[in-house]
């Protein structure tokens, strides 16, 4: 950073209205890196966030290292709120907009401009605070956190310092089964409201940087955990649970690639049995849950090895960056004492006062949070595998719940969703909200199979049609004449025809080659265009084959 030439670093919005900025600056800034764009949307709803968090090999070496040492891990999570407007002005924020198109005097920090609180931010903070079982401060306030950086237009960030809106909570979660499973409860130290900064764009090979203030003033909630985690898996799962939670609550899209959810890790290692913590290291630049897990495992290994070599003094309080390419952490900056942000109460904003009624109204409107959903599914009798899968994605869980509310069989609904529907979504890279199948129709489909109106095989066929094109189960059955044939007389006719056409095989069967039953059944099913009820079919078929022997 320091080596950059700041000669050309400038946004010059001084003489022009923001609106004229748009026209003027388009083309001057070309936005961020391509990688950010290419992987946006699709990952959001894919229920795989918690898989493959660490390689097995590293796991075993780690296990050895951790025989004598223990890692202490806490996370700071920044959640970008999906409010319509920014925290303190009327600007919208749309990820990926042309630089400096969503800005105004307030978020640009122009002289004389003043912040005005967006009450949605408080509502979302209260929602999250309640969902994290926190104690809410009826009177909290905003403070200014002061530091200089070109992406910080006012020279201070409006944040909350000594009186955050929520404190002393906890979160429950279930570890993925592939890592041994288990339930965990991690403490939440605090949740506070603050504003985001802008972004610096470093032109390729240029001797200057540019400032994009679109993100400046976007509301954030910072969630600080207790140092309750002991492994990369636990930390990654904590992060994943935060993502689930904010998506369940609808306060953020929780998208890590877009930076809507950002996790910084604090980690120290100490010999087992030691009470005081080891020297804390902060890790930044963690863009996925698996990166969190891998970075922590790397860092534990690094620190334990230093301990083992008698070089523990080389572990210093510092900020390290996770390098995804090299799969290691490197020093970003060493902290010389604590940074002094000279916090003081923000005089431009009144205190935040919450009434009991306000809090209760929000509590009453809270949706079922992931932990409650999982416990409910568990009690319903679903396997832990199913529970974790279904509750992972709020949209999938809502789809499942809606299907059940139409009277569908729970186990069958779970199987359809986790099987063919999930496979389709994965292949087509779509979310459950994007498929054409509705919970109503899935329930109808399950019911039709259960009642015997259609066969399971036919059910599977029309499922894909329902997913891709929509329509109703009834309509498709009628349109394609797919109603199952259960009339024994009709099936018997088909059996007779097939047996007559294959005398040789009939003889072989009767000669003891009973495996041929499958051949006949297949032929008859083909004759019926798949519509014959397999039970009836097999029953009559066996009768016929055995009768004349």
């Amino acid at each position: 950073m320091a080596s950059l030439l700041f000669r050309g670093l400038q946004v010059r919005p001084l003489c022009i209205y923001p609106s004229s900025l748009l026209t003027k600056k388009v083309g001057v800034f070309y936005c961020t890196s391509n990688s950010l764009h290419s992987q946006s949307v699709t990952t959001q709803n894919q229920p795989k966030t918690q898989s493959k968090v660490a390689s097995r090999n590293q796991g075993t070496t780690l296990d050895k290292l951790l025989k004598d040492y223990e890692a202490v891990i806490g996370l700071e999570t920044h959640v970008q709120l999906s409010t319509i407007t920014k925290a303190f002005c009327g600007c919208a924020y749309n990820y990926g907009s042309e630089p400096n198109t969503n800005i105004c005097p307030v978020c640009m920090g122009l002289p004389g401009a003043l912040p005005v609180m967006n009450s949605k931010v408080i509502e979302y903070a209260v929602k999250l605070g309640l969902a994290l079982n926190c104690k809410l401060s009826l009177n909290s306030k905003f403070d200014r956190k002061q530091y200089f950086y070109p992406d910080l237009p006012k020279g201070y960030q409006i944040s909350q310092f000594d009186v955050p809106i929520a404190t002393s909570g906890y979160v429950d979660l279930d570890l993925p089964l592939e890592y041994g499973g288990g339930h965990r409860k991690f403490g939440i130290t605090r949740v506070h409201m603050e504003e985001d900064a802008g972004k610096l764009i470093h032109a390729d090979g240029g001797n200057h940087s540019q400032v994009d203030l679109n993100r400046a003033g976007v509301p954030l909630l910072e969630i600080v955990s207790e140092p309750d985690m002991r492994s990369g898996i636990e930390a990654a799962e904590y992060g994943a649970e935060m993502q689930r939670l904010v998506r369940y609550l609808g306060v953020s899209n929780g998208n890590m690639q877009e930076g809507s959810l950002r996790c910084d890790v604090n980690i120290s290692v100490r010999p087992r049995g030691q009470v005081e913590f080891g020297t804390k290291v902060e890790i930044k630049n963690l863009n996925s849950f698996s990166a969190i897990s891998r970075a922590i495992d790397y860092e534990i290994t690094r620190q334990v090895q230093l301990h083992n070599q008698g070089l523990a003094y080389q572990i210093v309080q510092e900020t390290r960056l996770w390098e995804e390419g090299a799969q290691k952490t490197v020093t970003m900056r060493k902290k010389e004492g604590l940074a002094d942000y000279r916090y003081f109460p923000e005089p431009d904003l009144p205190e935040v006062t919450l009434t009991k009624e306000y809090i209760e109204d929000i509590r009453d409107s809270l949706p079922e949070i992931p932990e409650l959903k999982r416990r409910r599914y568990e009690q319903m009798g679903l396997s832990m595998q199913d529970v974790i899968f279904l509750a992972n994605d709020v949209n999938v869980a809502e789809f499942f719940d809606a299907t059940l509310s139409k009277g569908a069989d729970m186990k069958l609904a779970a199987n359809w969703i986790m099987g063919d529907i999930a496979a389709y979504m994965k292949n087509e890279k779509v979310s459950i909200n994007e498929i054409k199948l509705t919970p109503d129709e899935l329930a109808e489909l399950i019911d039709s199979i259960k009642k015997g109106t259609i066969s399971g095989k036919i059910g599977k066929e029309i499922l894909f049609e329902l997913i891709a094109k929509g329509g109703t189960v009834k309509g498709l059955i009628k349109e394609k004449n797919l109603v199952q044939i259960t009339d024994p007389a009709e099936i018997e006719k088909m059996i007779d025809r097939v047996l007559a056409e294959n005398p040789k095989q009939v003889e072989q069967f009767r000669g003891g080659k009973t495996k041929l039953q499958g051949f006949f059944a297949g032929q008859i099913m083909k004759e019926s265009k798949g519509k014959a009820n397999p039970g009836v079919l097999n029953k009559i078929l066996l009768e016929k084959l055995n009768a004349k022997s």
Binding site: A2, R12, P13, I16, L114, G155, F344, L349
Partner: protein
């Protein structure tokens, strides 16, 4: 909103023959020769002009003349512009004067409306000076700092917007101490403004330009800002009415922040009525300032009593507390005697005047400087060389910041940033900032107690009359001490009105002394009512500086 129809109760104000503005003929014949002859009239004590002994509302006079078709807005604008140009080389009140064409264009628009019998706002045709730390979209807004040199905001401050909506014409941006930090206007990065009563004296500050401009009748009224006395002290030095409203009464949106919890936009006028009318125009809740109050804004001037029907003791029964701590050591004798005289004048009007003690009074000054400096160190962080001022080329970011700020800020601003940064630093916060906040609470409580017992409190607006340019420039502590009379009011967020009440020695005609009246929160109405009676009954003084008398004659 004030409209023409309900003005009859104020007609008394118009009974007086309108003076300065209404001498267009003499203005038209204005020549350099007149100028030189005017310097002779300066020697004449203005007290000898009985016609201008009592202040009248220029705003209402203008309105009267316009609506009665006695004068056009263009004529009025021209007369002020002429006086502005005449005085400006001596006073240097303005950092930027509006383009004459655009002023006249706006005046023509007023005339057109009047000719068409369209409704015009109460400030129609009124030339308003605006302190240069208040944003205007059509003029630079530098806050008197090099770091904002050439800066043109993309928006009007809410107060400016409201003035324009009522037909007011912004005639220019007035000089100030950089970012409002100072009490002499010598702290401007661009020029030093002179006191219209004695050009070798300071006009006070930080709103020295606004005060001097109104005093010299370069404009009708003006907007200033008051963080620790920056409206009231220059009003006192320049012999005009200065009104600092309750914190939250006027939106701060568009006021370049110095100390956000203390800053208010205030008004200057040559009469209490004008200050009140201007305040009414700019008051009210603003959705762009969450510290602005939702309270209703009363018609501040509606309870003004007509002189014709003034009883002998119009303020009968009012309790006035004179603050003991403001008349002790370190306060000029001239000032003390003027305030004592003002107190007995109030008694003559029917008030009961008693001494009150505010024990925390002397604590206010250090508390003010800790809080104001702390907040300013934060508010001025945005001027980092990245976007404002001359960016110094640097290989390292910290050097860019350091150099750009070192070159962009003046010494007083740097001093306060350093003090504030220190006060907010880890380990010092409790000893300075927190303690100062505790003092602030004490000050608020003691004012509250005193105002429970009294309708208003009175004190000098400054310990002395205007002093010489350069006199305190290198002695910041002496300058800070001059704010003792005013800072407590900001700490308590209360409204205060300063109006001229007497003279101290100095200049050719003496230097004006201001009386400060402090009221309960949001009770500007009472202050203005008392102030109006006071000014209309104060005989034997004229607060028109020689520079004006000379020009008009």
């Amino acid at each position: 909103m004030l409209t023409t129809v309900n003005h009859h109760h104020r007609v008394f104000l118009l009974h007086r023959s309108p003076h300065f503005i209404l001498s267009p003929k003499s203005l038209h014949t204005f020549s350099p020769k007149c100028l030189s002859s005017s310097s002779q009239t300066l020697t004449q004590p203005p007290q000898n002009h009985p016609i201008i002994t009592l202040p009248t509302s220029q705003i209402l006079s203008i309105r009267h003349s316009l609506l009665n078709r006695q004068l056009t807005a263009v004529e009025i604008a021209e007369s002020y512009l002429a006086r502005l140009r005449h005085a400006e080389p001596k006073l240097r009140s303005f950092l930027h004067v509006a383009d004459e064409e655009s002023v006249l264009r706006e005046a023509k628009e007023v005339d057109r409306k009047i000719a068409n019998n369209e409704e015009v706002g109460l400030l129609a045709g009124v030339l308003v000076g605006v302190k240069d730390n208040i944003c205007t979209s059509d003029m630079p807004s530098t806050a008197g700092s090099k770091i904002l040199e050439g800066y043109r905001p993309p928006f009007d401050a809410t107060a400016v917007k409201k003035v324009r909506e009522l037909g007011g014409i912004v005639v220019g941006k007035t000089n100030l101490d950089e970012f409002g930090m100072g009490s002499t206007t010598e702290g401007s990065a661009f020029q030093v403004t002179a006191n219209p009563w004695d050009e070798s004296c300071v006009p006070g500050g930080s709103s020295g330009g606004s005060a001097a401009a109104v005093s010299a009748r370069q404009c009708v009224v003006s907007l200033g800002s008051d963080t620790g006395g920056s409206v009231r002290q220059p009003a006192s030095f320049c012999g005009v009415v200065g009104l600092k409203p309750t914190y939250g009464r006027v939106s701060r949106y568009g006021l370049v922040a110095y100390a956000s919890s203390l800053d208010v936009i205030g008004c200057f006028g040559t009469s209490v009525a004008d200050a009140g009318i201007l305040l009414h125009a700019i008051s009210g809740h603003d959705s762009f300032d969450s510290t602005s109050s939702m309270r209703e804004v009363p018609e501040f001037t509606s309870k003004f009593t007509s002189l014709n029907i003034l009883e002998s003791r119009p303020l009968q029964g009012l309790r006035v507390g004179i603050i003991r701590e403001t008349l002790g050591d370190g306060v000029d004798e001239n000032v003390v005697s003027s305030i004592r005289a003002a107190a007995s004048h109030l008694e003559d009007l029917g008030c009961s005047v008693t001494e009150v003690s505010l024990p925390s009074f002397s604590l206010g000054l250090p508390a003010y400087y800790v809080l104001a400096s702390s907040e300013s160190s934060s508010n001025l962080s945005r001027y980092d060389g990245v976007r404002y001022g001359n960016q110094v080329t640097a290989d390292e970011l910290t050097f860019l910041y350091g150099e750009s700020r070192a070159r962009g800020f003046g010494p007083e601003v740097k001093r306060r940033i350093l003090m504030g940064t220190y006060a907010l630093s880890a380990g010092y916060y409790d000893a300075y900032y927190k303690r100062a906040q505790q003092v602030r609470t004490l000050v608020q409580k003691s004012f509250k107690a005193a105002l429970d017992e009294n309708d208003i409190l009175i004190s000098p607006a400054a310990p002395s009359a205007a002093y010489k340019i350069g006199e305190k420039k290198n002695d910041p502590l002496a300058m800070y001490a001059g704010d003792i009379m005013t800072v407590n009011v900001n700490l308590a967020g209360l409204p205060a009105l300063v109006l001229p009440c007497g003279f101290a020695e100095g200049g050719s005609a003496g230097l004006p002394v201001g009386l400060q009246m402090i009221g309960a929160a949001f009770d500007e109405e009472k202050l203005l009512k008392i102030g109006h009676v006071f000014e209309q009954t104060l005989e034997g003084h004229s607060f028109v500086p020689p520079i004006v008398a000379g020009f008009a004659s």
